[in-house]
Symmetry: C3
């Protein structure tokens, strides 16, 4: 069953020979550009401490819930993938993964892993029950080489900027250490992610807010202290290189409350008396406040609503969050985001990146919004949508209304450090494929396409994220 | 105006020469595989009694509401298509159909009928007012040949399994007779379809439920008897070869009520006092109960929500149900199906096939759900969506998130026995076309595509429907 | 940076050589057919008075909110585009536009403008900061030529029918003058557009309704007078050549109230006491009434719901309506339109064209509705959706369910007179491209495609709009 891994230089490019020729030439212009990753979930400490990566399963399987979920759907319980409390032999996890490999054919994870195996680890074998041990040994051996430490790979991968995602009370020690280290040339930037402090239904909201006010409100108490503390921590993030604040919300609702009403809601939540409606209203109000603060402190605001987190409660209880069952639902931005845009949609230098997991929003709402409001940028397709066909659907959906200038540039959003080059490479190939079609259909000139491919791959993320 | 009917062996395959070569080779692997039809609406008695089919209009026009609806939209009243009580000359109906033939260009029905004409009836003429009588005579002559009886066609069509759709109180006589007949080699399986017993707004609900409890509750009365009777009839279906239970519901809502509350609702409905909200709640509860029973008795559970049945009341009143005006609407699965999946989403050997008429659900909800829950399979595009472009959109929408292993395999869902080969052939061609694109774009190897085409056409329906 | 403008005769046709050959031959059949424009926003007085067009900016930039919105999103304030009260030098507006030209690459506006520049004005230069003045001068010179007057261009553009959009109390003087002028051979038809008289939340509703009743109710007062006046003005429009009545509504809701209830609502609105719910109910009722009147007087009824008008209040207050921030939202037709269709869906000679800005509605709702109801036609993709990829998605979404006979034909919906040929040409190329794919994939014969391309381009709008 073992097959050579496809390493075709034309992978993901269009089949039509004329389009492929154009796509190749576009891709060649961006293939080697540095990686700009303005949003992701790699831990800064991993780079800073530069420890060797653990074994293959702990690096590539257990922490990647896009991988574990499909093996789970195929019938392997979560605890046999290393997610439970009981230790499982890494090699056994790895065999489960390799035996399940055919499940990944045609998936985004499949494309990334295949390229990662080939380009990062130099593997030629197709994963399968038969090849599992051989591949495990080969990767394990690589992981012991000094060239496979995080900082060496950071350089090898040609990463220029890598943004992490951080708790507002994070000390940002690792970021500071990296910035101060003359031996490390990359930029590792923190991102302000206050979800747990804004969502009053979060199980730790009260505790976190007490700690926030206690440590960062400068003695001010109550709602005023809460706002002061958030503003203060944002400033601290800015001082430490942050360029954006990221918001995972249930819906894109926004709302402007007056201070007295907001304070009343805040106190109700603090004393455990808030209703589900209060949660909606308060979170909507805080989105408005976050926009106000972004206008003031310059942090790019990113919003990603529309995921039902931890859909399967028994799995959440046994294995925690981020275990593969965050399920998207329908989203409507047009009315919901309006209160925020009334006041800040044309604010000077305000950048608001709107993501969606609901593809219907791209052509219907995001392209028209971004085609009018200077503040609004269309977030790249991500999460389930950072895959070849989905990215092509995205470009087709937004370009005719909003052109190429109003989208965010690729976002890898990953915890899987070693997959970063494969993810960006996939995006670059697909952007080349899309533009090649426009050239082949005489919609744009090849000369202009040469400018646009560099713009969408390199200039857009720098411009949108103020890098 | 008469044209030769296109009988091109490459029909429905991609135009790009490179892709077409691959598609041809994939299609050749599945072209002659037996037909597995795990859900449809052919009457088992038709096969059992093996009577000749009636005339062309009564076979191909009047009972196929996908055909009559378009002719109706084109201005021909329903009663001139044989749907009213007054008898209409078959030849006149047939002329109406042939004169309307250009309306079907580019439609799914058009592809099937054209292939059926060519491959089942050996016709070369394009239907038109001019050719109507000649075609009528040719088909009528064929229908008198002994080789055109249902059982002979069953064999000729290479059907291995054909599931019917049956009332829970059906005796299943025809299924038993076919199973006991050594001269008949096919499998004709019943399917448990209890809609009218679960939807308390159904005009015959009370009468049907009385009959159900009276005949199958073993003396138990009330809600407990109702549940007992449903369980008993499911067992009877299992004993007679059923592999699935099918549920047409307004929304995908599911809910777990305690027995006392369910019994209260049941009694309110029985005494005609249920409100519209009661209907929603009770049907949602019964979907939960149906899942529980499927976990216990092994019947695959299939759900298809989101159709506004009998949209045009005057047509329904004059001509009955299934007359071409069931109109889809937007559906949201993520929250609605959650109560069911909390308890049964990872239940051993439970298979839950989720269909949709709302394409937005494929990438947004069904692929992520099926990519995590072992129980969930993505229902094939059917009803308005079992057409070439719609099937390609389906594969594009779900594959990158859920791969190829999480979908149900093709479902023909048809009442039109003679269209079964054309429908399955269309699906096989489109699956080949989709995989050929992935090969041509170097996303999967041709060797792997050879495995996948057999998997999606043949292995998937056997696996998902436990055949 | 200046590039030659692509004038490729194959623009917008498919890249695959086999498909392109077919597409070319289809396009050649319709390239020179007269333009039928059954809905748009050109002012009849412009044609009637035949005055020279003003300068390039006032012709091509300031009044086209698809152009100004993207430049605004790119950071240029509205008042620098000529939209404010303070006069701005035309040449400065023009330079802003030319400098922003790269923003339009890949957009619908970009395709139209490029073709307009090339084919109407004979320009070879790519717009840019460098070429702005040269292009301005070239266009300005053309605008002074006698051949560039509206009537000459009307003939040059080969326009056969041009429908305008008019207030119910419009005198239709210009239409009458054109119809009476033996020197003018085209047809310029009024369209009855009563939105402001039906939407009781419209700021001028009360004043307009008083005027309507005062001038056209024949002395009848109150709700009865209101209905009488609307009927009377419709008759006046019919007498002056109108073929359709157009309705821009928030949602597609329809409802049949009895006269007494409608009169009560009407009086509440008239005395300023109507609630937001009243608005919904009354507008839904009036949609039903408009359908009833259409059945009686023969005007084709067109509905376009689902746009959040004037989304950014500060821009609306400063610059008025139609300034680029009407933002679509999700729409559901199936339930909403049902009351109207119950009574009029099969009414003799009633034509109801349903438009949408929410693409999900095309395959899910509009194709099934139009595939059953003789009255229903699927409105062409327009507004943000009259662009190459969106038009291809439209055909793919509706054809397999509804065929080619159930859609409206292209609608340019434009205020920009000089863009009319480019818009229709784009549509003709894309229809050719879509049909060419069906031919190349052996779904339809090339002979039938030759009939269909003429049908969708020329016959359909004549048939649907009763021309």
């Amino acid at each position: 069953m073992s097959q050579p891994i496809a390493a075709n230089p034309d992978r993901l490019l269009p089949a039509d020979p004329g389009m492929r020729r154009v796509a190749r030439s576009l891709y060649s212009l961006v293939e080697s550009l540095p990686i700009i990753s303005p949003h992701g979930h790699v831990d800064a400490a991993v780079i800073e401490q530069n420890l060797p990566f653990p074994d293959p399963a702990a690096l590539l399987v257990t922490p990647d819930h896009y991988v574990t979920r499909l093996i789970h759907a195929g019938g392997v319980p979560m605890d046999q993938l290393g997610l439970g409390n009981a230790p499982v032999d890494s090699r056994r996890i790895w065999r489960n993964f390799c035996a399940a490999w055919p499940l990944f054919e045609g998936t985004a994870s499949g494309y990334w892993i295949r390229q990662e195996f080939e380009h990062v680890f130099g593997l030629r074998d197709e994963p399968s029950a038969d090849t599992a041990d051989r591949i495990f040994d080969a990767i394990a051996a690589k992981l012991e080489e000094p060239g496979f430490r995080p900082r060496q790979l950071f350089k090898e991968f040609n990463i220029e900027v890598l943004a992490t995602t951080d708790d507002p009370l994070d000390s940002l020690d690792s970021h500071q250490a990296l910035a101060a280290d003359p031996a490390f040339a990359g930029r590792v930037l923190p991102t302000f992610r206050p979800d747990a402090y804004l969502n009053i239904a979060h199980p730790e909201w009260q505790a976190k807010v007490e700690r926030l006010i206690g440590s960062a409100a400068g003695g001010v108490s109550g709602y005023a202290g809460y706002i002061t503390a958030l503003e203060g921590r944002r400033r601290y993030f800015v001082e430490n290189g942050a360029v954006s604040a990221d918001h995972g919300v249930r819906t894109p609702a926004t709302l402007k409350l007056d201070d007295a009403e907001a304070a009343r809601l805040f106190e109700r939540a603090r004393t455990g008396k808030a209703s589900p409606e209060d949660r909606e209203v308060f979170e909507a109000h805080m989105m408005y406040q976050m926009a106000r603060m972004s206008v003031e402190d310059g942090l790019v605001m990113t919003i990603h609503p529309g995921s039902y987190r931890n859909h399967h409660a028994p799995t959440f209880e046994a294995f925690g969050a981020d275990t593969g069952h965050d399920i998207p639902f329908a989203v409507n931005y047009t009315e919901a985001i309006r209160p925020l845009l009334q006041d800040f949609g044309t604010a000077k230098d305000f950048h608001l990146v709107l993501f969606t997991l609901d593809e219907t929003v791209f052509s219907r709402e995001l392209a028209p919004l971004a085609g009018f409001y200077p503040a609004v940028y269309i977030g790249a397709p991500w999460w389930f949508l950072d895959a070849p066909d989905a990215m092509l659907r995205f470009r087709s959906a937004v370009t005719e209304t909003a052109g190429f200038s109003r989208s965010s540039g690729f976002i890898d959003d990953t915890r899987a450090f070693c997959s970063i080059p494969a993810r960006h490479d996939t995006s670059r190939r697909i952007e080349s494929a899309f533009l090649a079609r426009l050239v082949a259909e005489h919609r744009i000139s090849e000369e202009r396409a040469h400018e646009l491919i560099v713009d969408v791959v390199d200039t857009a993320p720098r411009r949108v994220f103020k890098l």
